[in-house]
Structures are given as C-alpha cells and as structure tokens.
Amino acid sequence: MTESRRALEALARAQWRLALTLSAAMMFVYFGFILLVAFAKPLLGTLLVPGLSLGTLLGALVILTAWALIWIYVRWANSHYDDTVRSLKDGSRGSR
C-alpha cells in the first residue's frame, strides 16, 4: 500500500466520520423537534413573550441549526479537505 493510498483512506475515514456526525446531529435536532411536537404539545404552546411560542422559536432554531451544520462542514471541507485532496493529486501526478 503506497503512502498516498494510506493518506487517501485516512481522508475518506475523516470525511465519513464528519459527514456521519453532522448528519446524526441534524437528525437528532429535527426528530427531537418532531417528538416534542408529538408528545409535548402544551409545552411547545407556552408563550415566551406575546406572539412567540416555544414551538415557533424551536422551529426557527431547527432551520438555523441546518445552516450552522452546513457552515461547519463547508469550513472544514474548503480548508482541510480541499488542501489534502490537492496535495494528494499533486503527489500522484508527480509520481507518474
């Protein structure tokens, strides 16, 4: 197994770990929200200030969470991931 193959597999593992963690986080937040909607209706109906119920606030937060998770992924991918991919490509081109 060449060094670049090992580096590629390490990168694949890192990408898979992050992708899985972030996907799990999104599912946890979203299904947490759905389960609250299903099982804690009165709680979500609590008015925090006039016009704003806990449910509406959490709903908007689910959308913000989706943005935040995507932001985390893009930051990692645009720097660490793309850099590694570039060096792997340069390395393999050089060795040919």
Partner: protein
C-alpha cells in the same frame, strides 16, 4: 368579492413575459445543446450560485409556496412542521450525497450506484424507482397546475394542463439542461422576490415585527394557533413523514441530476450552501405569509376559495397589494409549476434514455447522435404522458402523491446510493433488492394506508396505520440491501471499492487509472 378566477391583465401580461423570456433563453440554449453532455448536464458549465438558485427552483414547487402558506393560514403552527421538514434534508444532501455524486456519475444517480456493480440489473432497478418518483410527482404538479390556473386565471382545466405540458416540452426538448437550469433560476428569483415583497407588505402593517403579527393571529383565533394541534395526532406517523421528507430530498432524481451541471465537487458543495440558504429564507418567509393571510384575509375567506387553503398567498397578495400584485403572484405560481415540471421531465428522460436505452438495451454502445435522439424522443413521450396523466387525474385528490414521491425517493434511491458510495461490501444483488423492495414496499404501504383506503376508497379503516410509510420502508430498504449483499458477496465489487474511494475524493483523475 375576490379577483380570483377572473382574467387578470397583470397576471396574463406577467405570464406572457415569463414565457417569452424563457423561450428566448431556450432558443439561446438550443444553439449550444449539441451533445448529451449539454443536453443532460448543461456542459458542466453552471456556477455554484447559479446551481444553488436552480436547485432552489427545482425544489420549491407550487406545493410549498401555495400549499404551506395555506396550511399555516388554516392551521397555524402545524403548517410550520412542513416548512421545517422540507428544509432539513439539505444538510443530508450536503454531507452524504452532493460531492460523491458529482465525482462518480455522469448524468443520472444510477451512474453512481452502478459504478462498480453490474450495469444492467442495477440500472433497470434504478430506472424503475426514478420513473415511479417522476410519475407521481408529475401527476401532483399537473393536477395542481390545472386547478390552480383555473382558479387564478379562469381558464379551463384541460387547456391549463396542455399549456404547461407544451411550454415545458419546448424548454426541455430544444434547450435541454441549459434552458431548464435558466428557467429554474428565473423562476427562483421571481418566487423569492414575490415572497419577499409579500412578506414586507405584511410586516409593514405590524410595525415590522413578526411577533406582533403572530400575537395578532393569537388574539383573533386563540393561542392554540401558535401551538401544535390536530395535524400530528399519531406521533409515529409524524416521525415517519419527517424521515421521508428528510431522506426523500436526498433521493429526488431531478435534484440529484443538478449536481452534474457544475464543473467539480467543490462547486457542488457551494451550490448546496446557496440552495439551503435560499430555501431556508423562503420557508422562514412562509411563517410570515401564512400568519399574514390568517390575520389579514381571514380563515373563512381563504377556505371559501379553496378548502385546502391553496389560495391563501394569492388572496393575501390581493389584500396587501391590490389586483396588480395578485396578478404578479399568480404568474409566479404558474411559472413555478412550469419550471418544476421541466426539471422532472428531464430527469425522467435521462432514466429512460441514458439508463434504459443506452446502458441496458445498447450495452453502452450508442453513438452521440443516437443518444441525443433517444433522449429527445423520451422527453416527448414523458411530456405527452404528463399531459395525459394530468387530464386523467382531473378532480382526483392527488395531494398525497408528493408525499408518495418523497417516500419512494427516500426508500428506493437514498439507501442504495449511500451504500454504494460508502460500503465496500455492497453488491449488485444488494442494490437491486434494496431499490426494488424500497419502491414496491412504499407503493404497497401507501395503498394500504388511511390516505387511500379511508380517504379515497371510503373504507372505514386501513390495514396500515400510518399515512406515510417511510419509517418502515427506509430501514427495510437498508436492511434488505445489506442482508442480500452479505449473503451473496461479489468479489469484483469489493475489489473495485478502492476505485470508488479514489473517484469520490479526487475526482475523475484519481490515484489509480480508471478502468
């Protein structure tokens, strides 16, 4: 007395302007559409921002603009559950799908699943799932188009369906993916602008504060409108629907196909960021539009026009902006349907021609001209089919068909796609079994669900308790795919996994030479 159903000069002018501009784009695109790479993938020349807008255009159907605004107007908080469900699939698209898809495939998602597996069986199964999703989604859009345009423009149902079908056919047939992409972009910009202006006009009346608006809604219809209500009566049904919305987004063929229009994986990533930003803003705006319609138009006036609430946003436009603004919103809704139908037809045509004809019938040996000709024939067939289906389903309740399309996409396409990219031991038989079981179990359980049994056939009860089968069929498709793969290992598929890893991360150049 509302202005709905009367010929509205602004609506007609706006609609003709939209059709004229988009046909102009089609003419421009047609001169550039010379190869299959142009026809299916716009020559891979689309930028991240453009593709983000086009993804948003493909995804935001009339159902989300009119349907969700109506749902919020009539049932308050419960409608927001849909707004949120339609957004949360996008992070999954980003983390698991977009980049591998771009790097592994050429035109369809079956390219990815079949990459290291045996082509024919995988492509047949994938085309089956794709065509099922496309057909149900098309029926829902066409019937929606007919009803909507009848209500908005006072035109007959059949002519509305025929106009949508023929104009869409012109885009796809002559302009291919390049024209379709620009139609989506124009539509997305119009839709976002319309929703934004409408929200501003609403908020202006409530001191620019959504909270004052929500409080006004609570004052008029009680605090219950801000709390979960009757829509989610069975918790597991809600989870099942949520799962199907989330993973279905990551399995919709017309969405997946869009990732082939960009030059590389990094641009695919950028386009999901833009798409999620636009779609998120849009669904946050539906909070304001829905509650705005509830307060300013009133629930009785909304249900009087259409029991499903679909006319909430147009009525709101009339209330806050007059007949001219109503005309603009009506034209936007028409444009929205046209664009979504074009995207669907193109992805269905790709499954028929690229997957079934070129790779199954011709064993990947077809000349460029033949491929392009077959793609165009498939487009015409699907275009005429969509008009026929639209007319055949006139007067039927087809609201469940969008949910059904998402359920099939989530059960048939998503599990096979993820396993083929990330799991070394996935096999041809596993892919085939997963896609076929996903499609058929979703179809069967929807047929046995209360939606069809009680809602349409009028039986007192249904054998399957939930309205959406996702919670059963998605895990089932994963289990069947994994089980069959483990029972019947395929050495070559496992050996070629290194090639998949190469391509997923490094693109077509890879570390090893592609075979």
């Amino acid at each position: 007395m509302s202005g709905l159903g009367q010929p509205n000069p602004v609506a007609i002018a706006c609609f003709f302007a939209f059709v004229a501009v988009t046909l102009g784009i089609t003419y421009w695109a047609a001169r550039r559409t010379r190869s299959t790479e142009h026809f299916y993938a716009a020559g891979r020349s689309v930028t991240g921002l453009q593709n983000g807008l086009a993804l948003a255009g493909d995804y935001m159907s009339a159902a989300s603009f009119l349907g969700i605004a109506g749902l919020v107007a009539l049932s308050g908080f419960d409608g927001l559950i849909y707004s949120i469900g339609f957004l949360v699939g996008w992070p999954i698209v980003m983390f698991l799908i977009a980049e591998p898809l771009r790097n592994l495939g050429r035109y369809t998602f079956a390219d990815v699943v079949a990459f290291r597996l045996r082509q024919r069986p995988v492509r047949i199964a994938a085309a089956f799932g794709t065509l099922a999703v496309v057909c149900f989604y098309l029926i829902a859009q066409m019937v929606g188009a007919g009803n909507l345009i009848r209500l908005l423009f006072g035109m007959s149902y059949e002519s509305a369906v025929a106009i949508v079908g023929l104009v869409m056919l012109a885009y796809v047939l002559f302009g291919g993916m390049l024209a379709t992409t620009w139609v989506q972009i124009v539509k997305a910009v119009l839709l976002m602008t319309g929703a934004f202006l409408l929200a501003l006009l609403v908020l202006q009346r409530f001191g620019w504060s959504p909270l004052v608006l929500f409080a006004a809604a609570a004052q008029r219809y009680g605090d219950a409108v801000l709390a979960p209500g009757q829509l989610v009566s069975n918790p597991w049904d809600a989870v099942s629907l949520g799962l199907a919305l989330m993973l279905g987004t990551a399995g919709l063929p017309h969405i997946l196909m869009r990732f082939y229009t960009v030059p590389d994986a990094r641009t695919a990533r950028t386009s999901v960021s833009w798409a999620t930003a636009f779609i998120g803003v849009f669904y946050l705006l539906t909070f304001v539009l829905g509650f705005g319609a509830m307060v300013l138009v009133g629930r009785d006036a909304i249900s009087a026009e259409d029991a499903g609430g679909n006319m909430a946003a147009p009525l709101l436009a009339q209330t806050v902006g007059g007949t001219g603004f109503l005309g603009f919103i009506a034209a936007v809704a028409f444009a929205t349907i046209l664009a979504v139908v074009a995207g669907l037809t193109l992805s269905g045509a790709a499954a028929l021609s690229h997957d079934l004809w070129v790779n199954v019938v011709r064993g990947a040996h077809a000349s460029e001209q033949e491929q392009l000709r077959v793609a165009r024939v498939a487009t015409v067939v699907l275009g005429l089919l969509s008009i026929g289906l639209g007319i055949a389903f006139k007067g039927q309740n087809v609201a469940y068909m969008v949910g059904l399309a998402f359920a099939i996409a989530a059960s048939a396409n998503f599990p096979a796609l993820v396993m083929s990219v990330f799991w070394r031991r996935f096999t041809t038989a596993g892919a085939q079994a997963s896609m076929l079981v996903g499609t058929t179990s979703a179809l069967l359980l929807i047929y046995l669900s209360p939606t069809i049994q009680v809602g349409i056939l009028g039986h007192p009860s249904a054998p399957f308790p939930w309205r959406n089968p996702g919670l059963v069929t998605i895990p089932l498709a994963f289990l069947v795919g994994a089980g069959v793969s483990l029972l019947f290992p395929e050495r070559e598929a496992a050996e070629r996994f290194a090639e998949v890893e190469d391509r997923v991360h490094l693109g077509p150049e890879g570390l090893t030479e592609p075979s």
